[in-house]
């Protein structure tokens, strides 16, 4: 009798073991992929393809961000020409590894993402295209956490050709 009972028991154990290994494997891939996307030198193709700002942030970093007054986003109140909108960001946060710019109503929200190696000042100025009046979001990655600043820019003439 004991032998008959022990066979299903071991089989169950093996099955359980296999199941948890599979779950671990899947979890590892899901969490590891977005985190490395922002850290290595590879061009973040997937993040640039996302339409909404939330999806683009998820594809680039894969973690939530919080608004912070330590991130200073400088953009004009009104941009006369949406094709050239000067946007810059500076931050007092330390240990910054990357800075990214998102334009929420553009066909693809992610505009630019910058890697900041150690020794480089966490401050970037650039010029972006904006399709219409919407929010510009700057995200600063500091010590592995994400901090953001948002500003609405009114666009008189859209910068997507139209």
């Amino acid at each position: 009798m004991t032998i008959v009972h022990s066979i299903p028991a071991t089989r169950r154990l093996i099955l359980q073991g296999a199941g948890s290994v599979a779950l671990f494997g899947l979890g590892g891939i899901l969490f590891a992929a977005p985190a490395t996307a922002a850290a290595n030198d590879k061009y973040p193709e997937e993040a640039f393809k996302q339409k909404s700002d939330a999806d683009a942030i998820k594809a680039l970093y894969g973690k939530p961000h919080e608004a912070s007054d330590k991130v200073k986003l400088d953009a004009p109140e009104i941009a006369e020409n949406g094709a050239v909108v000067p946007v810059s960001v500076t931050t007092t946060l330390s240990d910054v590894t990357s800075i990214a710019f998102f334009v929420s109503e553009n066909p693809n929200a992610l505009a630019a993402s910058y890697q900041i190696p150690a020794g480089t000042t966490p401050s970037v100025a650039n010029r972006l295209k904006m399709a219409k009046t919407c929010n510009v979001i700057a995200i600063v990655e500091s010590s592995g956490k994400l901090y953001s600043a948002t500003k609405e820019v009114k666009v008189t003439v859209g910068g997507c050709g139209g």
Binding site: D41, Y43, P44, F48, A83, V84, V85, S88, V103, N106, P107, N108, L110, A111, A112, S113, Y114, Q115, I116, P117, G119, T120, T121, S123, V124, A125, N126, R127, L128, K129, M130, G159, C160, G161
Partner: protein, 103 residues
Amino acid sequence: MASTIRVRAISNGDTTEVQALVQHPMDTGLVKDAQGQTIPPHFIQQLTFEHNGKKVFLANWGPAVSKDPYVKFAFKGANKGDEIKISWVDNKGANDATTAKIQ
């Protein structure tokens, strides 16, 4: 042909401020030309700045960066007279590189 990259790097004691202007159409792939033909996307994907072989700045760009892109940043650890190397590559695989002396 003259380089597509214009760079000004100014040493300010400890930090070096770098400004770069690249000549590039940065076409989004959404705009039509006068004949109604869509202009295919053509934009710079990566712009790299190196000092003494060490990367000091890397830009990943999408088509939402303005035509003839401009970027400004600053880094520490360079001296006057040092050279920085700037290079870009676009979505069609074209590229260009130049060096600039820190002033």
